[in-house]
């Protein structure tokens, strides 16, 4: 693939919820390109449309209009079967509430996407991921026996295991204490630096966003800022401008 070609390209995305008078435009003409191997943070106040953007880019939701190309595939208007395949093969997802399957062990949870796809795992990658997750002997434990941070690290490894084109993380630290958050963010950063992944993360937290390469700020369904991340303070500044604008 051409290195200059973005891995995700969204053009004039609109997403409307409801109808008539009560209709809300969660996304109101968003265009964005995400180059390969970048870590992008998406920020914005509640209801700004950042989660909606993430869901649409990840193939979990469909735009009302506009186009999304993920790794060369137009996903707007795809049927459920193809969307499922896209999620399975090209997208990794990390949720705020980890969403591990309680009946499977940590390791089985990591392997889950491959099991679903019926593919053999890349054992070398698997080994790297297991090292990165750093669970030690708890790898065979069930999620209920793991801490929140540990569960989220497992969830990240799960998102990486199928070598997706892009990993989306929706408030991955939203439910964690600061130490655990730090570990999780470090792992996401390593995904980009060591594994060459493309990561898109929605977050409220400027400290979390600071770990990214680039910050997008959404307000009322529009991108109002698109800048390099820099330090946490710089991210704060981006947000301040946005709120006064």
């Amino acid at each position: 693939m051409n290195a200059s070609e973005p891995i995700v390209r969204a053009t004039d995305l609109r997403r409307r919820f409801g109808e008539g008078d009560t209709a809300v435009d969660a996304l109101d003409g968003v265009s964005v390109e995400l180059p390969k191997g970048h870590f992008t943070a998406v920020m914005g106040p509640s209801g700004s449309g950042k989660s909606t953007l993430l869901h649409i880019l990840a193939g979990l939701d469909q735009p009302t209009s506009g186009s999304v190309i993920v790794d060369g595939t137009e996903i707007a208007g795809l049927d459920d079967k193809h969307l499922t395949e896209l999620r399975r093969d090209k997208v990794g997802f990390v949720f705020q509430f980890y969403n591990l399957l309680p009946v499977l062990s940590a390791e089985e949870n990591i392997r889950l996407p491959l099991s679903i796809a019926g593919r053999k795992p890349d054992e070398q990658l698997m080994k790297q991921l297991v090292d990165a997750v750093n669970l030690g002997d708890r790898l065979s434990h069930r999620p209920s026996e793991l801490s929140g941070g540990q569960q989220q690290r497992v969830a990240i490894a799960r998102a990486l295991v199928s070598k997706p084109a892009v990993v989306f993380a929706d408030e991955p630290t939203g439910n964690l204490d600061s130490t655990s958050s730090e570990e999780v963010l470090t792992l996401l950063r390593r995904a980009v630096d060591d594994f060459g992944q493309t990561v898109v993360m929605v977050t409220h937290d400027a400290n979390a966003a600071a770990i990214a390469d680039r910050v997008l700020v959404l307000v009322d369904g529009k991108i109002v800022k698109d800048a390099a991340a820099g330090s946490a303070e710089q991210v704060y500044d981006l947000l301040k401008v946005e709120t006064t604008a």
């Binding site: 509430f97 399957l101 996407p113």
Partner: protein, 849 residues
């Protein structure tokens, strides 16, 4: 709190619906049974009352021996003169009413089936004639006959047609002179009737000089009771005098016994369905109470007390029970004809005109439906009391299922053990009534095993699930894990199916054993090449058949056999086989314990050989004598000459010479003719000749080779088996609702997980697969437990029969088929829930709390 309960029902419509449906089906069966049997009862009542209209007193023969087929002996016609000579009698007419004729259809086949007889009757003069001639009129010559409307319809006959009727004489063609109903009742209780002139009736039934009944009208001013008193004084003790009303009542009593048996049998099946429904209700309430833990805790923080919460759940149960019972009641009214159709499939034709809905039916249906639902919801409801208010504040708090594992296991083991003991004691008649104790024992075993089964879920899920996992990968793995996730829930869901399957496989095993035993006994004792019986296998055929067969080329011997009943030592209804000593040993032997075939061939009129079991029971040994009351009122004294083992109860309690056939009321009819062929004769050719006889003179007979006869018996058993299966199907269906319900509730609980699976790329198909295999694993657990219990039941129930040669054989093929059917049922039960799960919107599911 009541309104919360009601809102809950409204909000969870599917669950409410499925739970109700289980109760509806159970109540439907109860109500249907009552409606059907009440209707039959009333119809018979109408028929008998109609038959006795205008009759003040009736003379019949005293029934010296109560027989299963209800045949009554005739009495001498001299009685009529004495009746007419009695003061107070205005009019008296004698009649013939014999249940052993057959009306043939246009193809020469007898009309009407098993159970309901065809009566050959004499036309009764006014004012006693209860018949209403809807077409034509009374028979006026020996070549005319009148038949009932139902039979005319079945045979497509109209007045003026030629019609063949056969009794104890060979078949004869008549002109159809009329078509009759009984007053306003179309049906004769499923029976058919052929009405001849008096003399012709006597000829057809071979009752020259005899009467079956005398109808009497009292003179003015003489009450029926007074008339009866006078007649009783004037007439011999061998006849029975009843007023018309008494006669109606005693006839009703006769059929009442049969209807009662029918009712009990149907109610047992209804009970099974209700028992299964109780499991389902219990399970549903357990799950929903657990799922609503937070809601209950929240209500507690708002100040609701424990009692209010429990009451709210019980009210939910009450409402479900009430709605379901009412629906069940209505469904039952509609279901009654369906049960009747089932009997008709067995060619048991019972009258049911109109629909009788007794107050008792309504009360029982409501009480059972509501009571069962509330009772089954009580334990789950009481669990709410353990919800601490703080649980409402915790994320995902779910009520812990009680973990008093050891105590539970102990109770379950004891219960199962007691169940087995109760069954054994019931089976061996230590406790009586045995049947009830067997039922109680089986119920206790079911509950015990259901309580034990949570422990079995994990190993069994492994057993069933591992191959699925190998074959289905992650979907199989998740299915297995989900199945064992809440062992109690899976166990009680599977237990419901287990009950149905245990009973089905028990019946299958028992029937297979029965067939095997009969075949074995048959091979051992029957040597005749051909067996001639009535088409139905048991009804009378004319003695003339024997002579006709003897005349066929290639036949060495045709030996008649009669199966009848007598009273031994005051005990009613001992079964007696009457054989022809001259020929019997050519075609039949016995499994001798003491004695040999020479006893049979030398059987004198006062000699008997006894079934050793019966002899033991009656404390008879070889050389002892016993008194036997027979049909004509005489008492015969027999000497026991030998004893035999009767494997399949072919020969009843004792075998005697047919020299006394007349005393047993069977002078001209037999039930079986065993045919031995001459050396080198072709069985096929002889069979063809006998078939020719069946085509002309004796249309009711059927000739079968040994193999054909065994197949015929097997077929009869299978037919009965089919009906039992059909009745048990209801319980199985209810248990499938249970699986659907549990799956639906579990899916509801796991919405978020399903969303996750979809988010990480699981296709809808794969999601369906997860649910389907969970269902199959649950069904498999139920099926395996059920089959095992079925085998155990069969072993227990056949214990007392083992001495009589009952050979238990496990029909492995049938059990495997049952197992597969259960698995398929599991697949079917999963269709709805799986579809629902796969249709979940991914984002909604993930956002779901």
């Amino acid at each position: 709190m009541t309104s919360i309960a009601l809102r809950n029902l409204g909000a969870r419509k599917l669950r409410t619906f499925l739970t109700s449906l289980a109760v509806v089906l159970g109540v439907m069966m109860v109500a249907g049974t009552y409606v059907l049997t009440d209707t039959i009862d009333q119809s018979f009542g109408k028929i008998f009352a109609e038959g006795n209209r205008g009759i003040d007193a009736v003379i019949t023969s005293k029934e010296a021996v109560e027989t299963d087929d209800g045949q009554e002996p005739s009495f001498d016609e001299s009685v009529l003169a004495r009746v007419r000579g009695t003061d107070g009698v205005a009019k008296a007419e004698g009649g013939i009413f014999d249940p052993t004729v057959s009306i043939l259809d246009k193809d020469g086949e007898p009309i009407g089936g098993n159970g309901a007889p065809t009566f050959g009757a004499s036309a009764v003069p006014e004012p006693f004639d209860a018949l209403k001639y809807v077409e034509g009129g009374k028979p006026s010559s020996a070549d005319q006959v009148v038949i009932d409307k139902q039979t005319a319809g079945r045979g497509d006959y109209s007045v003026g047609d030629r019609i063949k009727v056969v009794g104890k004489e060979s078949a004869k063609e008549y002109e159809l002179a009329g078509i009759a109903t009984l007053g306003d009742v179309d049906s004769f209780g499923g029976a058919s009737i052929a009405v001849f002139t008096f003399d012709e009736a006597r000829r057809v039934t071979r009752k020259q000089g005899k009467l079956d009944q005398i109808s009497i009208a009292a003179a003015e001013g003489v009450s029926p009771a007074e008339l009866k008193r006078r007649l009783s004084q004037a007439l011999p003790k061998s006849v029975e005098v009843e007023t018309g009303t008494e006669n109606t009542a005693s006839q009703k009593e006769d059929v009442g016994e049969f209807i009662g048996f029918l009712k009990t049998a149907l109610l047992i099946f209804a009970g099974v369905a209700l028992f299964v429904a109780a499991f389902l209700i219990f399970n549903t309430f357990s799950i929903t109470v657990a799922q609503r833990t937070r809601e209950f805790a929240m209500l507690r923080t708002l100040g609701a007390n424990r009692r209010q919460l429990v009451v709210s759940v019980v009210i939910e149960a009450l409402v479900i029970g009430l709605i379901a019972s009412v629906l069940g009641l209505f469904a039952g009214i509609g279901f009654a004809p369906a049960i009747n159709a089932l009997f008709q499939a067995l060619e048991v034709d019972l009258p049911n005109e109109g629909t009788v809905i007794a107050a008792r039916t309504i009360v029982v249906a409501l009480v059972i439906g509501v009571g069962l639902t509330v009772l089954a919801s009580l334990i789950p409801a009481l669990r709410i009391t353990r919800v601490p208010p703080v649980a409402g504040l915790r994320e995902g708090a779910v009520l812990e299922t009680p973990r008093s594992g050891r105590r539970r296991t102990a109770i379950a083991t004891v219960l199962t053990g007691l169940g087995v003991v109760a069954m054994l004691l019931g089976v061996f008649g230590v406790l009586s009534p045995g049947e009830a104790w067997v039922g109680v024992g089986a119920g206790a075993i079911f509950i015990g095993v259901a309580l034990l089964s949570p422990r079995l879920v994990r190993p069994m899920a492994s057993l069933v699930g591992r191959p699925v996992e190998r074959f289905r990968g992650v979907a199989g793995r998740l299915a297995r894990e989900n199945a064992v996730r809440n062992p109690g829930r899976t166990a009680s869901t599977a237990a419901a199916l287990m009950i149905g399957l245990a009973l089905v496989s028990f019946v299958a095993i028992f029937a297979a054993g029965l067939r095997g035993s009969i075949d074995a006994a048959f091979d051992k004792t029957i040597q005749g090449d051909l067996i001639v019986t009535n088409k139905d296998g048991f009804s009378d055929i004319s003695l003339e058949v024997t002579k006709a067969i003897e005349g066929i080329d290639g036949v060495a011997v045709a030996s008649p056999g009669r199966f009848t009943q007598a009273n031994v030592a005051g005990e009613k209804g001992s079964y007696v086989t009457l054989v022809d000593p001259e020929t019997v040993t050519e075609v039949q032997t016995l499994d001798w314990e003491e004695g040999d075939d020479s006893l049979l061939s030398g059987l004198g009129p006062r000699d008997a050989v006894a079934d050793e079991k019966w002899a033991e029971k009656e404390k008879l040994e070889v050389g002892d004598t016993f008194k036997t009351g027979v049909s004509n009122g005489e008492t015969l004294t027999y000497t026991v000459r030998g004893t035999f083992v009767d494997r399949a109860d072919f020969n009843g309690d004792f075998v005697a010479s047919d020299a006394n056939a007349a005393a047993y009321g069977e002078p001209n009819s037999v039930q079986q003719v065993l045919v031995g062929l001459e050396e080198g004769a072709s069985a096929g050719a002889v069979q063809k000749e006998i078939d020719r006889l069946a085509g002309s003179a004796f249309p009711t007979i059927e000739v079968r080779s040994q193999q054909e006869f065994k197949d015929f018996i097997g077929e009869e058993i299978n037919q009965l088996l089919g009906v039992v299966y059909a009745l048990l199907a209801l319980a199985v269906i209810v248990s499938l609702f249970g699986i659907v319900n549990t799956l639906a509730l579990s899916i509801h609980e796991r919405t978020r997980e399903l969303g996750l699976l979809r988010a990480v790329g699981m296709s809808r198909r794969q999601v369906r697969r997860v649910i389907r295999w969970e269902s199959v694993i649950t069904a498999a657990i139920g099926a395996v437990l059920g089959s095992v219990l079925g085998v155990i039941f069969a072993v227990i129930m056949s214990r007392p029969l083992a001495d009589e040669g009952f050979v238990l054989s496990i029909p492995v093929g049938t059990l495997i088929v049952l197992l597969l059917l259960a698995l398929i049922a599991g697949v079917l039960a999963a269709i709805g829930p799986a579809r629902r799960a796969s249709r979940l919107d991914v984002l909604d599911a993930l956002a779901y709390e």
